[in-house]
């Protein structure tokens, strides 16, 4: 890719130099024809053919099922966030949102779906994008080879806040991944400080649990993201805000400003102290 970009850059610069040095006046008709035919038809056809072959070649491997026993992750694109479900061998799958962890060097199979409109699952650094189509389950298999944090995004316009529908992928060593998965499987930590306790009481009293689940508490909603370990994530609001109490306050009080068109109503009407307590509670759900 870099090589191709350099060739294009050199060609454009060479043309610019040529244009500066060319003498004014009429040019040979034959040369002009060659330029139009070559630059307008033949070269683009060759370049597009090469890019098409380059793009088609890796697709079959991405669509084929991962080897037996591979990690399977169901991801559902929803307006405008990602529901992530690790289909572990245990009866209880691990559910979270807007974040995916993967063990380095191990094949993984994503099963991609959507309950509302067409979304597209895309982690540019790891693999091609695959549409998430209501009523279908599409598959994407890949093997991450580098440790790091990669950003993913929705690559198909899906409504007002399409551009605010991102997620993070953390690729880590197998041991770190196993520890993370074990922590994600556990129920939520009970709040330890008075402020966090007030936040939990507020969460339950104000009906947040109708849409959000926090395992280990009475909150068991399935409409919105599972918040059991929301404090452990790299971001909140599907990749748009940092995981900080201040960002939680902004999200809870002015949800529709943070993400226009979002289903969750803003809770700015709650007392400021309650919102701050909620933020501390949620941020503490590591």
């Amino acid at each position: 890719m870099t090589g191709g970009a350099i060739v294009i850059w050199i060609a454009v610069i060479a043309l610019a130099i040529h244009a500066f040095r060319a003498r004014p006046g009429s040019h040979s008709g034959r040369h002009a024809n060659y330029l139009i035919l070559g630059g307008g038809a033949i070269v683009p056809t060759i370049v597009l053919t090469a890019l098409l072959i380059y793009g088609l070649a890796p697709i079959p491997a991405l669509l084929a099922p991962a080897p037996e026993g591979s990690l399977k992750i169901a991801v559902s694109g929803e307006q405008w966030w990602w529901r992530v479900r690790y289909e572990t061998s245990d009866a209880d799958a691990v559910v979270l949102a807007n974040e995916i962890h993967l063990p380095v060097g191990e094949p993984v199979e994503f099963r991609l779906e959507s309950p509302d409109v067409i979304h597209s699952f895309w982690i540019p650094a790891l693999g091609g994008k695959v549409d998430m189509i209501p009523g279908r389950v599409n598959r994407l298999s890949l093997t991450p080879t580098k440790i790091g944090v990669f950003r993913g995004a929705c690559a198909e316009y899906c409504g007002t806040s399409h551009a605010l529908m991102s997620f993070y992928v953390r690729v880590e060593e197998k041991a770190a991944f196993d520890r993370w998965l074990m922590r994600q499987r556990a129920t939520a930590l009970p709040p330890s400080t008075p402020l966090a306790k007030r936040g939990q009481a507020s969460f339950l009293a104000n009906g947040c649990g109708a849409c959000h689940a926090i395992r280990g508490t009475p909150a068991d909603g399935v409409v919105g993201p599972d918040l059991t370990h929301v404090g452990s994530r790299l971001s909140i609001g599907a990749g748009i805000l940092p995981n900080k109490p201040k960002a939680f306050v902004h999200w809870i009080a002015r949800t529709d400003q943070a993400k226009p068109g979002v289903l969750m109503p803003a809770f700015g009407m709650l007392p400021k102290a309650d919102i701050e307590a909620l933020a501390v509670y949620l941020e503490g759900l590591r």
Partner: protein, 125 residues
């Protein structure tokens, strides 16, 4: 009656190559979709569908080749000079012939691009 008589000339030939392209595109998709959904199922082999698509591709390219050749012959006929925009039959023939030839080239490239897929995909995933 000569091939380029005023009366014979129409725009239909211009549309022939893009029609081959459209038909090829539809047939490829419909064949693969029905084959995967109704015949072999998810994960099944695309073998027969690939052969069918190869046949469609050869037929479409042959059709486009014939149309392109006719277009070239019409373009080569007569002495009308560029840019072929006078209101004479010869100018029209040359212009329509050349446009037919160019559309045929474009359609051929599009058909090849659609057909290329069979070299990469061997199963219904």
């Amino acid at each position: 009656m000569s091939e380029t008589a005023e009366k014979d000339q129409s725009l239909w030939l211009l549309t022939a190559s893009p029609t081959f392209w459209a038909a090829h595109f539809l047939l490829c998709y419909i064949t693969a979709a029905i084959w995967c959904a109704k015949v072999v199922g998810l994960g099944g082999s695309l073998a027969s569908a690939r052969v069918a698509i190869a046949v469609y591709t050869v037929l479409a390219l042959a059709g486009i080749g014939i149309v392109g050749r006719v277009g070239y012959r019409r373009h080569s006929h007569g002495n009308a000079t560029l840019p072929h925009d006078d209101d004479t039959p010869e100018d029209r023939h040359r212009f329509l012939g050349f446009a037919t030839l160019l559309l045929s080239a474009l359609s051929a490239v599009a058909v090849i691009y659609a057909g290329l897929v069979i070299f990469f995909f061997r199963s219904c995933y």
